[in-house]
Amino acid sequence: MPDKPRLTREQIAQRAAQELQDGAYVNLGWGIPNLMADHLPKGITVYFHSENGILGMGPRAKAGQEDPDLVDAMKVPVTLIPGASFFSQADAHLMTRGGHLDVAALGGFQVSEKGDLSNWKIPGTKGSGAIGGAMDIAAGSRKLIVCMEHNTKDGAPKIVKECTYPLTGIECTDTIVTDLAVIDVTQEGLELREVAPGWTPEEVQERTGVKLIVRGKVPEMKLD
């Protein structure tokens, strides 16, 4: 029997964006996190940081207005908002590693019970793999949100007791936002904060590789 509808990638991004506070300095990684910029809660301003040395990135550049010297970490031509600044890659990572950013969001292949993250290499694949800024961001973020699908295409849980994929960082994740749930990493373990509309905590638990802590009634996510 097919599963009930899950959140789309856009909806995962929308829910993750609700974690951002007005005025926050934020770094968004590849994949779903990158979509968060299009789903900011109304009325808030956040300052997007890019590893190549930009603070205050605006929306992507319109066709015909791209400048190849003004790109984000994914090489996408972007714009600036008033008050933006440029600096070197070293200062950009001083910000990621030194705990200067309020929030960072990364994609994930696996997250463990302790908040370990794997997101840079799939075992058994050919090629060198590529780390980029993920390890610095994982190690240094004040609040790290991991955005990912709850299960692999084969249905295996991506939230697991121990990561089996190469690690990006240990005990680095604070919150996991998936197409089924919002989960916080706590001292006691993984706590289920919200479930996707139409899903029960039991159904989410069945699709998770770790026993989730449930306190009282778990609310459904609120999405537009």
Binding site: S50, E51, N52, G53, I54, D67, P68, D69, L70, V71, D72, A73, M74, K75, F86, F87, S88, Q89, A90, A92, H93, L94, T96, R97, D116, K126, G127, S128, G129, A130, I131, G132, G133, A134, M135, D136, A138, A139, G140, P166, L167, T168, G169, I170
Partner: protein, 225 residues
């Protein structure tokens, strides 16, 4: 005044030998010394030990050096989706690679520039990059010892140089360039424009002239993603 301006790209890199350790600036298509890379490629030096964030974009950026089998080893952070020439040679064992977290790549280069011998970091603890590195606990945190990355040459890209070698960069084309400029024994910069001494207000200088040894003017090249 010491003459740092070199008349041609080929002359600027004429003494770089086989096996040289070379840093290459640039990130995301911006700030690559593409004209100098082409000159290296024309010259055909071999067994380069490269230090670069990425490993080329198809034939662009460092791609041409991998395509021509000029690189033996690379220290890098993000051999991206279009670094096909690197990946092909890597798969055949023709080039070796040390993958480094991007900010740690910056700091290892800065460590060399600053005359320091290493630093401890939590980045990479418990991951593949910690293998073989000294681990200890500082302030209750597990951390690993990272070593400096030196280079014989840095090839970088700036927007403007004055005749002394003070540099400014355009937008996000700064990235690794000012860091690498500080760390190599000989830094060679390609710029869009060379201006007289004094034409860059001192407070606008990003890389002070002390770090720059050769300046060559060339029209900047970009390669699409």
């Amino acid at each position: 005044m010491k003459q740092k301006i070199v008349s041609s790209l080929d002359a600027a890199i004429a003494d770089i030998p086989d096996g040289a350790r070379i840093m290459f600036g640039g990130f995301g298509g911006a700030g690559f010394p593409n004209n100098l890379i082409h000159a290296l490629s024309r010259r055909g030096i071999k067994n380069v030990f490269a230090i670069s964030n990425n490993c080329g974009t198809r034939d662009g950026e460092l791609g041409i050096m991998f395509k021509n089998d000029q690189v033996k080893h690379v220290i890098c952070s993000f051999p991206g989706p279009h670094s096909n020439h690197f990946q092909e040679r890597f798969a055949k064992g023709e080039v070796t690679c040390e993958l480094v977290p991007q900010g740690i790549l910056c700091e290892r280069i800065r460590t060399a520039a600053a005359g320091l011998l290493g630093f401890y970091t939590t980045v990479g603890v418990g991951t593949e990059v910690s293998v073989g590195k000294e681990e200890r606990v500082i302030d209750g945190k597990r951390c690993i010892l990272e070593s400096p990355i030196h280079a014989d040459f840095a090839l970088i890209k700036a927007e403007k140089a004055d005749e002394l070698g003070n540099l400014t960069y355009r937008l996000a084309a700064r990235n690794f360039n000012p860091i690498m400029a500080q760390a190599a024994r000989t830094t060679i910069v390609e710029v869009d424009e060379i201006v007289p001494v004094g034409a860059i207000p001192p407070e606008n200088v990003i890389t002070p002239a002390i770090f720059v040894h050769r300046i060559v003017q060339a029209k900047g090249l970009h390669y699409a993603g």
